[in-house]
C-alpha cells in the first residue's frame, strides 16, 4: 500500500506547488513599500510648470497616486475608470506624469479627460524610482499619515476598484 501512497503523496504536493505557482502573475511583484511612508517628493506641476506639488500638501487626506504617461498603452485601459472616479469625488487622485513630454501629457489629458486634482511632472523618472515603479500604470493608496496602504500594479480594473481600492479608501477615511 505504501508503495503507491508515497509517490501519490509526492505527486499531490508537486501539483499543489505548481497549481499555486502557475497561477501567480510573475509581473506582480509585491512592493516592499506597502505599509511604509510614501517617499516624499516635490515636483513641478504638469499643467503649471511654475507651480509645485509636494507630498506634504496631501497630509491628513486619503489619496490616490496614479502613475501615468501619454506613451503608456494600458493607461488608456484604466483611464475611463479614473475619470469616473474623479467625477464621483470619493477620493482625490494625484497623477504622476512619468517620463513624459509636457505637451504630450497635456494633450493626452485633453483627449482622454483629466481625473486628477493635478499631475506632478516627473521628467527623469527619479520619483518613479523612489516609488519602485516598473510598469506604468501603477496606483498607490496613501492614508492620512502618508503611509502607502496598497499598490496596484498595472491598470486599475473594475474588480480591483470595487473590491480593493474603494473599500480601503472608505475604511481609511473613517
Amino acid at each position: 500500500m505504501m508503495r503507491f501512497l508515497l509517490p501519490l503523496a509526492a505527486f499531490l504536493v508537486l501539483v499543489g506547488f505548481l497549481a499555486v505557482g502557475l497561477n501567480l502573475n510573475p509581473r506582480e511583484v509585491p512592493s516592499p513599500l506597502v505599509g511604509k511612508p510614501a517617499p516624499a517628493f516635490d515636483l513641478p506641476q504638469l499643467a503649471a510648470p511654475d507651480k509645485r506639488f509636494a507630498t506634504k500638501d496631501m497630509q491628513g487626506k486619503v489619496w490616490l497616486l496614479n502613475v501615468w504617461a501619454s506613451w503608456c498603452v494600458s493607461c488608456r485601459q484604466e483611464h475611463p475608470l479614473l475619470v469616473e472616479l474623479g467625477k464621483a469625488g470619493i477620493v482625490p487622485i494625484v497623477g504622476l506624469n512619468y517620463k513624459d513630454q509636457r505637451a504630450d501629457g497635456l494633450g493626452w489629458l485633453r483627449q482622454h479627460g483629466d481625473p486628477y486634482v493635478l499631475s506632478a511632472f516627473d521628467l527623469d523618472g527619479r520619483v518613479g524610482i523612489d516609488y519602485g515603479v516598473y510598469g506604468v500604470p501603477e496606483t498607490y493608496v496613501i492614508d492620512k499619515a502618508g503611509i502607502i496602504r496598497y499598490k496596484q500594479i498595472g491598470p486599475v480594473t473594475p474588480e480591483s476598484l470595487e473590491q480593493k481600492i474603494l473599500p480601503l479608501v472608505k475604511e481609511l477615511d473613517k
Binding site: 511583484v29 509585491p30 516592499p32 517620463k99 524610482i129 516609488y131 516598473y134
Partner: protein, 157 residues
Amino acid sequence: MMRLIAFLLALFLSAPLFAKDAAPLAEDEAVEQRLNVIAEELRCLVCQNESLAGSRADLAQDLRREVRILIKDGKSDSDIREFMVSRYGDFILYRPPVKPTTWLLWGGPFLLLISGVVALIVYLRRRNRAVAQAGSKHLSTDEQKHAAALLDEETKK
C-alpha cells in the same frame, strides 16, 4: 564596364572609412566596472529574465544611471543593493537573502536530496534482507528433485 566596376569597388571598399570608433560608455572606467558587477546581480523588472546590466529597457537605463550616481557618492555595494531592495523588493536580487520566507527556497534542494538518500537506503536495506532470506532458504528433497528434473530437461534439449 571596367570603369563602372572600379567605381563600384571604390564605393564599397571605402564604406568602412566612415565607421567611427566606438564611443566610450562613460567617462569613468572604474565606476563603469563596479556598475557592471553590481548590475549583473540585479534583475531588470521590466524584462524579468535579463539583468540590469544587460537590459536595454528604459527603466534599466534609469536604474543604471541611479547606481552610477550612488557609486560616485561613495556608497558601498551593499548600500546600493539596499537602495534597490527598499524600492523593488527582494525580487530584484538574483541571489535572494536567506530569511524565513526563503528558507524553503534555499533548503528545498537539500531537503529533496536528503529524502532521496533516505529512500535509497531504505530500499537497498529491504532488498538486501529479501536477498538474504532467499539465500538462507534450503530446498526440501522434493524441491531438489523437481529442480534436477527441470535441469535435466534443459540439457536433453
